[in-house]
Protein backbone atom coordinates (compact mmCIF):
# COMPACT_ATOMS: atom_id res chain seq x y z
CA UNK A 1 0.00 0.00 0.00
CA UNK A 2 1.16 3.53 -0.69
CA UNK A 3 2.21 5.74 2.26
CA UNK A 4 -0.65 7.10 4.28
CA UNK A 5 -1.67 10.69 5.00
CA UNK A 6 -1.10 11.96 1.52
CA UNK A 7 -4.68 12.17 0.27
CA UNK A 8 -5.59 13.97 -2.95
CA UNK A 9 -9.22 14.16 -1.93
CA UNK A 10 -10.80 14.45 1.48
CA UNK A 11 -14.51 14.19 2.30
CA UNK A 12 -15.30 15.67 5.71
CA UNK A 13 -18.68 14.90 7.24
CA UNK A 14 -20.48 15.25 3.92
CA UNK A 15 -24.28 15.22 4.10
CA UNK A 16 -27.15 15.26 1.62
CA UNK A 17 -30.86 15.19 2.24
CA UNK A 18 -33.65 14.72 -0.29
CA UNK A 19 -36.67 15.95 1.63
CA UNK A 20 -36.91 13.65 4.62
CA UNK A 21 -34.57 11.05 3.18
CA UNK A 22 -30.99 11.24 4.35
CA UNK A 23 -28.97 10.05 1.36
CA UNK A 24 -25.58 10.85 2.86
CA UNK A 25 -25.00 11.34 6.57
CA UNK A 26 -21.60 12.50 7.78
CA UNK A 27 -19.74 10.55 5.11
CA UNK A 28 -15.99 10.98 5.57
CA UNK A 29 -13.11 9.30 3.78
CA UNK A 30 -9.92 10.09 1.93
CA UNK A 31 -8.67 9.13 -1.51
CA UNK A 32 -4.96 8.61 -2.07
CA UNK A 33 -3.10 8.68 -5.39
CA UNK A 34 -2.54 5.26 -6.84
CA UNK A 35 -5.03 3.65 -4.50
CA UNK A 36 -8.44 2.10 -5.18
CA UNK A 37 -11.15 2.65 -2.64
CA UNK A 38 -14.25 0.53 -3.03
CA UNK A 39 -17.59 2.03 -2.11
CA UNK A 40 -20.17 -0.65 -1.49
CA UNK A 41 -23.50 -1.03 0.20
CA UNK A 42 -27.02 -2.25 -0.46
CA UNK A 43 -29.25 -0.51 -3.01
CA UNK A 44 -30.22 2.97 -1.85
CA UNK A 45 -27.36 3.19 0.64
CA UNK A 46 -25.98 6.42 -0.85
CA UNK A 47 -23.19 5.23 -3.13
CA UNK A 48 -24.34 7.09 -6.23
CA UNK A 49 -25.24 10.12 -4.13
CA UNK A 50 -21.67 10.18 -2.86
CA UNK A 51 -20.34 10.11 -6.44
CA UNK A 52 -22.80 12.87 -7.37
CA UNK A 53 -21.64 14.98 -4.44
CA UNK A 54 -18.00 14.60 -5.46
CA UNK A 55 -18.62 15.38 -9.12
CA UNK A 56 -20.89 18.29 -8.19
CA UNK A 57 -24.25 17.12 -9.51
CA UNK A 58 -25.76 17.45 -6.03
CA UNK A 59 -24.96 20.23 -3.57
CA UNK A 60 -23.32 19.21 -0.32
CA UNK A 61 -25.29 20.40 2.68
CA UNK A 62 -23.42 20.54 4.99
CA UNK A 63 -19.90 19.12 4.69
CA UNK A 64 -16.60 19.83 2.95
CA UNK A 65 -14.87 18.21 -0.01
CA UNK A 66 -11.21 19.03 -0.50
CA UNK A 67 -9.19 18.42 -3.67
CA UNK A 68 -5.46 18.95 -3.18
CA UNK A 69 -6.32 20.83 0.00
CA UNK A 70 -8.68 23.22 -1.81
CA UNK A 71 -12.35 23.39 -0.85
CA UNK A 72 -14.31 22.48 -3.97
CA UNK A 73 -17.71 22.20 -2.28
CA UNK A 74 -19.07 25.27 -4.06
CA UNK A 75 -17.44 24.67 -7.43
CA UNK A 76 -19.49 23.98 -10.57
CA UNK A 77 -19.48 20.55 -12.21
CA UNK A 78 -17.32 21.61 -15.16
CA UNK A 79 -14.81 23.36 -12.90
CA UNK A 80 -14.38 20.20 -10.87
CA UNK A 81 -13.96 18.18 -14.07
CA UNK A 82 -11.21 20.54 -15.20
CA UNK A 83 -9.51 20.30 -11.81
CA UNK A 84 -9.09 16.59 -12.48
CA UNK A 85 -12.20 14.74 -11.38
CA UNK A 86 -13.28 12.23 -14.02
CA UNK A 87 -16.25 9.88 -13.85
CA UNK A 88 -17.91 7.10 -15.73
CA UNK A 89 -21.51 6.01 -15.53
CA UNK A 90 -23.32 2.78 -14.96
CA UNK A 91 -24.93 3.34 -18.36
CA UNK A 92 -22.27 4.97 -20.54
CA UNK A 93 -23.03 8.55 -21.44
CA UNK A 94 -21.13 9.15 -24.63
CA UNK A 95 -22.04 11.70 -27.29
CA UNK A 96 -24.05 9.35 -29.45
CA UNK A 97 -24.22 11.65 -32.48
CA UNK A 98 -20.46 12.30 -32.61
CA UNK A 99 -17.67 10.05 -33.84
CA UNK A 100 -15.24 8.26 -31.56
CA UNK A 101 -12.48 10.80 -32.06
CA UNK A 102 -14.67 13.66 -30.84
CA UNK A 103 -15.82 11.63 -27.89
CA UNK A 104 -12.30 10.76 -26.84
CA UNK A 105 -10.70 14.14 -27.33
CA UNK A 106 -13.34 16.68 -26.45
CA UNK A 107 -12.70 16.30 -22.75
CA UNK A 108 -9.02 15.85 -23.33
CA UNK A 109 -8.60 19.04 -25.32
CA UNK A 110 -10.15 20.90 -22.43
CA UNK A 111 -7.66 19.17 -20.16
CA UNK A 112 -4.83 20.37 -22.35
CA UNK A 113 -6.09 23.92 -22.09
CA UNK A 114 -5.75 23.48 -18.36
CA UNK A 115 -2.18 22.27 -18.64
CA UNK A 116 -1.34 24.52 -21.58
CA UNK A 117 0.76 21.85 -23.28
CA UNK A 118 0.65 20.50 -26.79
CA UNK A 119 1.76 16.95 -26.18
CA UNK A 120 -0.33 15.49 -28.98
CA UNK A 121 2.13 12.74 -29.90
CA UNK A 122 2.16 11.50 -26.35
CA UNK A 123 -1.64 11.49 -26.41
CA UNK A 124 -1.80 9.51 -29.64
CA UNK A 125 0.52 6.94 -28.10
CA UNK A 126 -1.56 6.63 -24.98
CA UNK A 127 -4.76 6.35 -27.04
CA UNK A 128 -3.26 3.49 -29.05
CA UNK A 129 -2.06 1.79 -25.90
CA UNK A 130 -5.40 2.19 -24.14
CA UNK A 131 -7.41 0.95 -27.13
CA UNK A 132 -5.04 -2.00 -27.34
CA UNK A 133 -5.44 -2.84 -23.66
CA UNK A 134 -9.21 -2.51 -24.04
CA UNK A 135 -9.13 -4.77 -27.10
CA UNK A 136 -11.04 -2.19 -29.11
CA UNK A 137 -10.34 -2.38 -32.82
CA UNK A 138 -12.22 0.68 -33.96
CA UNK A 139 -11.78 3.50 -36.42
CA UNK A 140 -11.51 6.99 -35.04
CA UNK A 141 -14.21 8.19 -37.44
CA UNK A 142 -16.70 5.45 -36.56
CA UNK A 143 -19.96 6.44 -34.99
CA UNK A 144 -20.58 5.62 -31.34
CA UNK A 145 -23.64 3.70 -32.45
CA UNK A 146 -21.42 1.00 -33.99
CA UNK A 147 -20.12 0.03 -30.54
CA UNK A 148 -21.64 -2.60 -28.28
CA UNK A 149 -22.70 -1.73 -24.74
CA UNK A 150 -19.53 -3.19 -23.27
CA UNK A 151 -17.35 -1.40 -25.83
CA UNK A 152 -19.05 1.87 -24.94
CA UNK A 153 -18.25 1.31 -21.28
CA UNK A 154 -14.62 0.62 -22.15
CA UNK A 155 -14.48 3.72 -24.32
CA UNK A 156 -15.91 5.83 -21.53
CA UNK A 157 -13.20 4.59 -19.18
CA UNK A 158 -10.53 5.33 -21.81
CA UNK A 159 -11.90 8.83 -22.24
CA UNK A 160 -11.64 9.41 -18.51
CA UNK A 161 -8.09 8.02 -18.29
CA UNK A 162 -6.95 10.24 -21.17
CA UNK A 163 -7.71 13.34 -19.10
CA UNK A 164 -5.13 12.05 -16.55
CA UNK A 165 -7.55 12.51 -13.67
CA UNK A 166 -6.42 13.03 -10.11
CA UNK A 167 -9.64 11.49 -8.91
CA UNK A 168 -11.36 8.83 -10.98
CA UNK A 169 -14.93 7.89 -10.07
CA UNK A 170 -16.17 4.61 -11.52
CA UNK A 171 -19.88 3.87 -11.22
CA UNK A 172 -20.54 0.14 -11.63
CA UNK A 173 -18.07 -0.57 -14.45
CA UNK A 174 -18.83 -4.30 -14.31
CA UNK A 175 -22.60 -4.03 -14.65
CA UNK A 176 -23.93 -5.55 -17.85
CA UNK A 177 -20.66 -6.71 -19.40
CA UNK A 178 -19.11 -10.10 -20.10
CA UNK A 179 -16.12 -11.64 -18.35
CA UNK A 180 -13.65 -10.85 -21.10
CA UNK A 181 -14.62 -7.20 -20.99
CA UNK A 182 -14.33 -7.37 -17.22
CA UNK A 183 -10.65 -8.31 -17.59
CA UNK A 184 -10.17 -5.39 -19.96
CA UNK A 185 -11.68 -3.08 -17.39
CA UNK A 186 -9.31 -4.38 -14.73
CA UNK A 187 -6.38 -3.69 -17.04
CA UNK A 188 -7.62 -0.16 -17.73
CA UNK A 189 -8.05 0.57 -14.03
CA UNK A 190 -4.48 -0.67 -13.52
CA UNK A 191 -3.31 1.95 -16.02
CA UNK A 192 -5.22 4.67 -14.17
CA UNK A 193 -3.50 3.55 -10.97
CA UNK A 194 -0.11 3.60 -12.70
CA UNK A 195 -0.88 7.21 -13.65
CA UNK A 196 -1.37 7.95 -9.93
CA UNK A 197 -5.10 8.48 -10.08
CA UNK A 198 -7.06 8.04 -6.88
CA UNK A 199 -9.85 5.64 -7.82
CA UNK A 200 -13.24 5.44 -6.16
CA UNK A 201 -15.05 2.32 -7.32
CA UNK A 202 -18.77 1.81 -6.81
CA UNK A 203 -19.56 -1.77 -7.70
CA UNK A 204 -21.91 -4.62 -6.89
CA UNK A 205 -19.63 -7.34 -8.22
CA UNK A 206 -17.92 -8.47 -5.02
CA UNK A 207 -15.33 -10.41 -7.01
CA UNK A 208 -14.14 -7.22 -8.61
CA UNK A 209 -14.29 -5.15 -5.43
CA UNK A 210 -12.52 -7.68 -3.21
CA UNK A 211 -9.77 -8.44 -5.69
CA UNK A 212 -9.14 -4.88 -6.83
CA UNK A 213 -9.60 -2.53 -3.88
CA UNK A 214 -6.93 -1.50 -1.41
CA UNK A 215 -9.52 -0.28 1.03
CA UNK A 216 -13.30 -0.47 1.19
CA UNK A 217 -15.94 1.84 2.61
CA UNK A 218 -19.35 0.34 3.30
CA UNK A 219 -22.45 2.54 3.32
CA UNK A 220 -25.91 1.81 4.63
CA UNK A 221 -28.75 4.35 4.82
CA UNK A 222 -26.24 7.10 3.99
CA UNK A 223 -23.90 6.28 6.88
CA UNK A 224 -20.44 4.73 6.78
CA UNK A 225 -20.87 1.48 8.69
CA UNK A 226 -17.47 -0.04 8.06
CA UNK A 227 -14.08 0.73 6.57
CA UNK A 228 -11.12 -1.52 6.09
CA UNK A 229 -9.15 -3.82 3.81
CA UNK A 230 -11.19 -6.44 1.90
CA UNK A 231 -10.47 -9.24 4.39
CA UNK A 232 -11.75 -7.14 7.28
CA UNK A 233 -14.89 -6.15 5.42
CA UNK A 234 -15.71 -9.73 4.49
CA UNK A 235 -15.77 -10.70 8.16
CA UNK A 236 -17.51 -7.57 9.46
CA UNK A 237 -20.75 -8.32 11.32
CA UNK A 238 -22.37 -4.97 10.53
CA UNK A 239 -21.70 -5.40 6.82
CA UNK A 240 -23.11 -8.91 6.72
CA UNK A 241 -26.16 -7.64 8.58
CA UNK A 242 -26.66 -4.76 6.16
CA UNK A 243 -26.52 -7.06 3.16
CA UNK A 244 -28.24 -10.17 4.49
CA UNK A 245 -30.23 -9.02 7.50
CA UNK A 246 -29.78 -9.86 11.18
CA UNK A 247 -29.36 -13.48 12.12
CA UNK A 248 -32.19 -14.51 14.36
CA UNK A 249 -30.96 -15.96 17.63
CA UNK A 250 -33.22 -18.73 18.76
Amino acid sequence: MSPKNNPVMVLEKVCKRFGGVVAADDVSFELEPGQIRGLIGPNGSGKSTTLNLISGICDVEPGIILLDGEDITKKAIHERARMGIARTFQHPRLLSRCDIKTNLFLGHDLGNMRRASGASQEIDQSVDELLDVAGLKIGMDDSIKTLSYGQQKLLEIIRAILTKPKVFLLDEPAAGINTREMDRIRALIAIAIRNKAAVLLVEHSMDLVMSLCDIITVLNFGCVIAEGVPAEIQGNEAVIEAYLGRRRHA
Binding site: R97, R159, T163
Partner: protein, 288 residues
Protein backbone atom coordinates in the same frame (compact mmCIF):
# COMPACT_ATOMS: atom_id res chain seq x y z
CA UNK B 1 -42.03 35.63 -64.76
CA UNK B 2 -41.24 32.12 -63.55
CA UNK B 3 -37.55 32.92 -63.12
CA UNK B 4 -38.37 36.05 -61.14
CA UNK B 5 -40.67 34.04 -58.94
CA UNK B 6 -38.01 31.41 -58.43
CA UNK B 7 -35.51 34.05 -57.32
CA UNK B 8 -38.11 35.70 -55.06
CA UNK B 9 -39.12 32.39 -53.54
CA UNK B 10 -35.48 31.45 -52.97
CA UNK B 11 -34.92 34.76 -51.20
CA UNK B 12 -37.93 34.26 -48.96
CA UNK B 13 -37.15 30.59 -48.51
CA UNK B 14 -33.59 31.17 -47.43
CA UNK B 15 -34.78 33.70 -44.85
CA UNK B 16 -37.30 31.15 -43.57
CA UNK B 17 -34.38 28.75 -43.54
CA UNK B 18 -32.34 31.11 -41.34
CA UNK B 19 -35.19 31.45 -38.86
CA UNK B 20 -35.78 27.69 -39.00
CA UNK B 21 -32.10 27.11 -38.25
CA UNK B 22 -32.53 29.43 -35.28
CA UNK B 23 -35.42 27.28 -34.06
CA UNK B 24 -33.44 24.08 -34.52
CA UNK B 25 -30.29 25.28 -32.75
CA UNK B 26 -32.23 26.24 -29.62
CA UNK B 27 -34.35 23.12 -29.80
CA UNK B 28 -31.30 20.91 -30.04
CA UNK B 29 -29.45 22.73 -27.28
CA UNK B 30 -32.14 22.96 -24.64
CA UNK B 31 -35.01 20.85 -25.93
CA UNK B 32 -37.67 23.53 -26.25
CA UNK B 33 -39.27 25.38 -29.12
CA UNK B 34 -38.64 29.10 -28.85
CA UNK B 35 -41.94 30.83 -29.50
CA UNK B 36 -40.20 34.20 -29.68
CA UNK B 37 -38.09 33.21 -32.71
CA UNK B 38 -40.22 35.32 -35.07
CA UNK B 39 -39.91 38.26 -32.71
CA UNK B 40 -36.14 37.99 -32.87
CA UNK B 41 -36.55 38.44 -36.64
CA UNK B 42 -38.63 41.55 -35.91
CA UNK B 43 -35.96 42.79 -33.49
CA UNK B 44 -33.31 42.31 -36.18
CA UNK B 45 -35.39 44.35 -38.61
CA UNK B 46 -35.78 47.22 -36.11
CA UNK B 47 -32.07 47.15 -35.27
CA UNK B 48 -31.36 47.29 -39.00
CA UNK B 49 -33.75 50.24 -39.36
CA UNK B 50 -31.96 52.12 -36.57
CA UNK B 51 -28.51 51.38 -37.94
CA UNK B 52 -29.22 52.23 -41.56
CA UNK B 53 -32.05 54.78 -41.57
CA UNK B 54 -31.34 56.62 -38.30
CA UNK B 55 -27.57 56.24 -37.90
CA UNK B 56 -26.87 56.18 -41.61
CA UNK B 57 -24.19 53.52 -41.36
CA UNK B 58 -22.86 52.04 -44.62
CA UNK B 59 -24.40 48.65 -45.39
CA UNK B 60 -21.47 46.32 -44.63
CA UNK B 61 -20.89 48.07 -41.28
CA UNK B 62 -24.60 47.93 -40.48
CA UNK B 63 -24.68 44.23 -41.30
CA UNK B 64 -21.82 43.40 -38.95
CA UNK B 65 -23.17 45.72 -36.24
CA UNK B 66 -26.64 44.19 -36.54
CA UNK B 67 -25.13 40.71 -36.19
CA UNK B 68 -23.20 41.76 -33.08
CA UNK B 69 -26.21 43.44 -31.48
CA UNK B 70 -28.46 40.47 -32.20
CA UNK B 71 -25.89 38.07 -30.72
CA UNK B 72 -25.98 40.20 -27.58
CA UNK B 73 -29.78 40.15 -27.64
CA UNK B 74 -29.54 36.36 -27.84
CA UNK B 75 -27.32 36.18 -24.76
CA UNK B 76 -29.68 38.46 -22.78
CA UNK B 77 -32.64 36.43 -24.04
CA UNK B 78 -30.90 33.27 -22.82
CA UNK B 79 -30.29 34.61 -19.34
CA UNK B 80 -33.81 36.00 -18.97
CA UNK B 81 -35.97 33.28 -20.49
CA UNK B 82 -34.01 30.05 -20.26
CA UNK B 83 -31.21 29.98 -17.70
CA UNK B 84 -33.23 30.68 -14.51
CA UNK B 85 -35.73 27.99 -15.58
CA UNK B 86 -33.29 25.41 -16.90
CA UNK B 87 -34.07 22.88 -14.18
CA UNK B 88 -37.84 23.15 -14.50
CA UNK B 89 -40.24 21.41 -16.84
CA UNK B 90 -39.88 22.12 -20.58
CA UNK B 91 -43.35 23.63 -20.66
CA UNK B 92 -42.26 26.32 -18.20
CA UNK B 93 -39.49 27.40 -20.54
CA UNK B 94 -41.86 27.35 -23.52
CA UNK B 95 -44.28 29.65 -21.69
CA UNK B 96 -41.37 31.84 -20.75
CA UNK B 97 -40.52 32.21 -24.47
CA UNK B 98 -44.16 33.13 -25.19
CA UNK B 99 -43.80 35.83 -22.54
CA UNK B 100 -40.59 36.97 -24.18
CA UNK B 101 -42.43 37.17 -27.50
CA UNK B 102 -45.00 39.56 -26.02
CA UNK B 103 -42.30 41.56 -24.23
CA UNK B 104 -40.23 41.96 -27.40
CA UNK B 105 -43.24 43.29 -29.33
CA UNK B 106 -44.07 45.75 -26.57
CA UNK B 107 -40.48 46.93 -26.25
CA UNK B 108 -40.41 47.53 -29.99
CA UNK B 109 -43.64 49.56 -29.72
CA UNK B 110 -42.20 51.65 -26.89
CA UNK B 111 -38.91 52.33 -28.65
CA UNK B 112 -39.93 52.68 -32.29
CA UNK B 113 -43.66 53.43 -32.02
CA UNK B 114 -46.61 51.51 -33.41
CA UNK B 115 -46.47 52.79 -37.02
CA UNK B 116 -44.81 50.56 -39.64
CA UNK B 117 -41.46 51.83 -40.86
CA UNK B 118 -39.80 51.39 -44.21
CA UNK B 119 -36.17 50.53 -44.90
CA UNK B 120 -34.15 51.20 -48.05
CA UNK B 121 -32.88 48.09 -49.86
CA UNK B 122 -29.23 47.15 -49.31
CA UNK B 123 -28.67 47.58 -53.04
CA UNK B 124 -31.58 49.53 -54.54
CA UNK B 125 -32.90 48.98 -58.02
CA UNK B 126 -33.42 46.19 -60.46
CA UNK B 127 -30.86 43.83 -61.94
CA UNK B 128 -31.40 42.98 -65.60
CA UNK B 129 -30.17 39.74 -67.10
CA UNK B 130 -31.16 39.63 -70.76
CA UNK B 131 -34.94 39.82 -70.63
CA UNK B 132 -35.26 39.08 -66.92
CA UNK B 133 -35.50 41.82 -64.30
CA UNK B 134 -34.88 40.93 -60.71
CA UNK B 135 -34.75 43.16 -57.65
CA UNK B 136 -31.22 43.42 -56.33
CA UNK B 137 -32.53 42.98 -52.81
CA UNK B 138 -33.57 39.39 -53.56
CA UNK B 139 -30.11 38.54 -54.90
CA UNK B 140 -28.38 40.23 -51.97
CA UNK B 141 -30.63 38.33 -49.57
CA UNK B 142 -29.77 35.00 -51.15
CA UNK B 143 -26.03 35.69 -51.18
CA UNK B 144 -25.79 37.01 -47.61
CA UNK B 145 -28.08 34.36 -46.13
CA UNK B 146 -26.30 31.53 -47.94
CA UNK B 147 -22.91 32.84 -46.79
CA UNK B 148 -24.17 33.09 -43.23
CA UNK B 149 -25.59 29.57 -43.35
CA UNK B 150 -22.30 28.28 -44.68
CA UNK B 151 -20.40 29.98 -41.86
CA UNK B 152 -22.70 28.62 -39.16
CA UNK B 153 -22.62 25.16 -40.70
CA UNK B 154 -18.82 25.23 -40.75
CA UNK B 155 -18.73 26.48 -37.17
CA UNK B 156 -21.00 23.68 -35.97
CA UNK B 157 -19.54 20.80 -37.95
CA UNK B 158 -15.86 21.53 -38.34
CA UNK B 159 -14.65 23.51 -35.37
CA UNK B 160 -13.83 22.79 -31.77
CA UNK B 161 -16.46 25.28 -30.60
CA UNK B 162 -19.01 23.43 -32.72
CA UNK B 163 -18.06 20.16 -31.02
CA UNK B 164 -18.59 21.77 -27.65
CA UNK B 165 -21.99 23.13 -28.70
CA UNK B 166 -23.02 19.75 -30.10
CA UNK B 167 -21.82 17.91 -27.03
CA UNK B 168 -23.87 20.22 -24.84
CA UNK B 169 -26.90 19.78 -27.08
CA UNK B 170 -26.65 15.99 -26.84
CA UNK B 171 -26.21 15.62 -23.11
CA UNK B 172 -25.74 18.72 -20.96
CA UNK B 173 -24.89 16.76 -17.89
CA UNK B 174 -22.32 14.52 -19.54
CA UNK B 175 -20.81 17.59 -21.21
CA UNK B 176 -20.37 19.30 -17.87
CA UNK B 177 -18.67 16.22 -16.50
CA UNK B 178 -16.01 16.35 -19.18
CA UNK B 179 -15.37 19.98 -18.29
CA UNK B 180 -17.58 21.94 -20.67
CA UNK B 181 -19.05 25.09 -19.10
CA UNK B 182 -22.65 24.53 -20.12
CA UNK B 183 -23.72 28.11 -19.47
CA UNK B 184 -21.19 29.33 -22.05
CA UNK B 185 -22.32 26.73 -24.59
CA UNK B 186 -26.05 27.41 -24.20
CA UNK B 187 -25.71 31.19 -24.22
CA UNK B 188 -23.51 30.92 -27.31
CA UNK B 189 -26.18 28.80 -29.00
CA UNK B 190 -28.85 31.40 -28.20
CA UNK B 191 -26.51 34.12 -29.49
CA UNK B 192 -26.04 32.31 -32.82
CA UNK B 193 -29.77 31.61 -33.07
CA UNK B 194 -30.70 35.25 -32.46
CA UNK B 195 -27.95 36.42 -34.80
CA UNK B 196 -29.03 34.42 -37.83
CA UNK B 197 -32.71 35.14 -37.20
CA UNK B 198 -32.01 38.86 -36.74
CA UNK B 199 -30.00 39.01 -39.95
CA UNK B 200 -32.98 37.31 -41.59
CA UNK B 201 -35.06 40.22 -40.31
CA UNK B 202 -32.57 42.73 -41.65
CA UNK B 203 -32.64 41.08 -45.08
CA UNK B 204 -36.43 41.08 -45.44
CA UNK B 205 -36.93 44.52 -43.87
CA UNK B 206 -36.70 46.32 -47.27
CA UNK B 207 -39.16 43.82 -48.79
CA UNK B 208 -41.83 44.25 -46.11
CA UNK B 209 -42.59 47.10 -43.79
CA UNK B 210 -40.92 46.91 -40.41
CA UNK B 211 -43.63 46.47 -37.79
CA UNK B 212 -43.97 44.94 -34.37
CA UNK B 213 -46.04 42.05 -35.72
CA UNK B 214 -43.87 41.33 -38.76
CA UNK B 215 -42.32 38.30 -36.99
CA UNK B 216 -45.56 36.36 -36.71
CA UNK B 217 -45.98 35.00 -40.21
CA UNK B 218 -42.28 34.27 -40.95
CA UNK B 219 -41.98 32.71 -37.50
CA UNK B 220 -44.84 30.30 -38.18
CA UNK B 221 -43.62 29.55 -41.69
CA UNK B 222 -40.13 28.86 -40.39
CA UNK B 223 -41.66 26.53 -37.83
CA UNK B 224 -43.45 24.77 -40.70
CA UNK B 225 -40.07 24.60 -42.45
CA UNK B 226 -38.55 22.92 -39.39
CA UNK B 227 -41.29 20.28 -39.42
CA UNK B 228 -41.12 19.70 -43.18
CA UNK B 229 -37.32 19.50 -43.08
CA UNK B 230 -37.24 17.13 -40.14
CA UNK B 231 -37.32 18.29 -36.55
CA UNK B 232 -33.86 18.92 -35.16
CA UNK B 233 -31.97 18.73 -38.45
CA UNK B 234 -29.98 21.77 -39.58
CA UNK B 235 -29.85 20.81 -43.29
CA UNK B 236 -33.55 19.95 -42.97
CA UNK B 237 -34.29 23.45 -41.71
CA UNK B 238 -32.57 24.99 -44.73
CA UNK B 239 -34.27 22.73 -47.28
CA UNK B 240 -37.59 23.04 -45.47
CA UNK B 241 -37.24 26.81 -45.53
CA UNK B 242 -36.72 26.83 -49.28
CA UNK B 243 -39.64 24.44 -49.82
CA UNK B 244 -41.88 26.72 -47.78
CA UNK B 245 -40.56 29.78 -49.63
CA UNK B 246 -41.38 28.20 -52.98
CA UNK B 247 -44.88 27.14 -51.93
CA UNK B 248 -45.49 30.53 -50.35
CA UNK B 249 -44.39 32.64 -53.32
CA UNK B 250 -45.89 30.49 -56.07
CA UNK B 251 -49.23 30.02 -54.35
CA UNK B 252 -49.33 33.77 -53.78
CA UNK B 253 -48.68 34.40 -57.47
CA UNK B 254 -50.74 31.67 -59.13
CA UNK B 255 -53.47 30.67 -56.70
CA UNK B 256 -54.41 33.39 -54.26
CA UNK B 257 -52.37 35.94 -52.39
CA UNK B 258 -55.09 36.07 -49.75
CA UNK B 259 -54.83 32.38 -49.00
CA UNK B 260 -51.06 31.95 -49.40
CA UNK B 261 -50.53 31.43 -45.66
CA UNK B 262 -53.38 28.93 -45.54
CA UNK B 263 -51.90 27.06 -48.50
CA UNK B 264 -48.50 26.85 -46.77
CA UNK B 265 -50.08 25.34 -43.69
CA UNK B 266 -52.22 23.01 -45.78
CA UNK B 267 -48.99 21.74 -47.33
CA UNK B 268 -47.60 21.35 -43.81
CA UNK B 269 -50.53 19.13 -42.90
CA UNK B 270 -50.00 17.11 -46.09
CA UNK B 271 -46.30 16.78 -45.28
CA UNK B 272 -47.16 15.53 -41.81
CA UNK B 273 -49.52 12.96 -43.30
CA UNK B 274 -47.08 11.72 -45.91
CA UNK B 275 -43.76 11.96 -44.09
CA UNK B 276 -44.27 12.90 -40.45
CA UNK B 277 -40.58 12.65 -39.60
CA UNK B 278 -39.69 15.25 -42.23
CA UNK B 279 -37.21 15.15 -45.10
CA UNK B 280 -34.12 14.63 -42.94
CA UNK B 281 -36.16 13.24 -40.09
CA UNK B 282 -34.70 11.55 -37.12
CA UNK B 283 -37.10 9.60 -34.98
CA UNK B 284 -39.69 11.95 -33.51
CA UNK B 285 -38.74 12.26 -29.90
CA UNK B 286 -41.03 12.63 -26.95
CA UNK B 287 -40.39 16.35 -26.81
CA UNK B 288 -42.34 17.14 -29.96
Amino acid sequence: MVLQLIIASLAMGIVYGLVAMGFVLIWRAVGVVNFAQGDLLMAGAYVAFTLTELEGLPMPVALVACAAIMALVGVVFHFLTYWPLRKSWDMTVIISTIGASIALKEIATLVWGPAPLSVEPIIPGIARFASVSIEWQFLVTIVIAAALMGMIFYLLEKTYIGNILQATAQDQYAAELIGIPVVVATSMTFAISALITGIGGMLISPIFFVSTTMGGSPGLKAFAAVIIGGFGSVPGAIIGGIVVGVIDTFSGAYISSTYRDAIVFLCLILALLVRPQGIFGEKISDKV
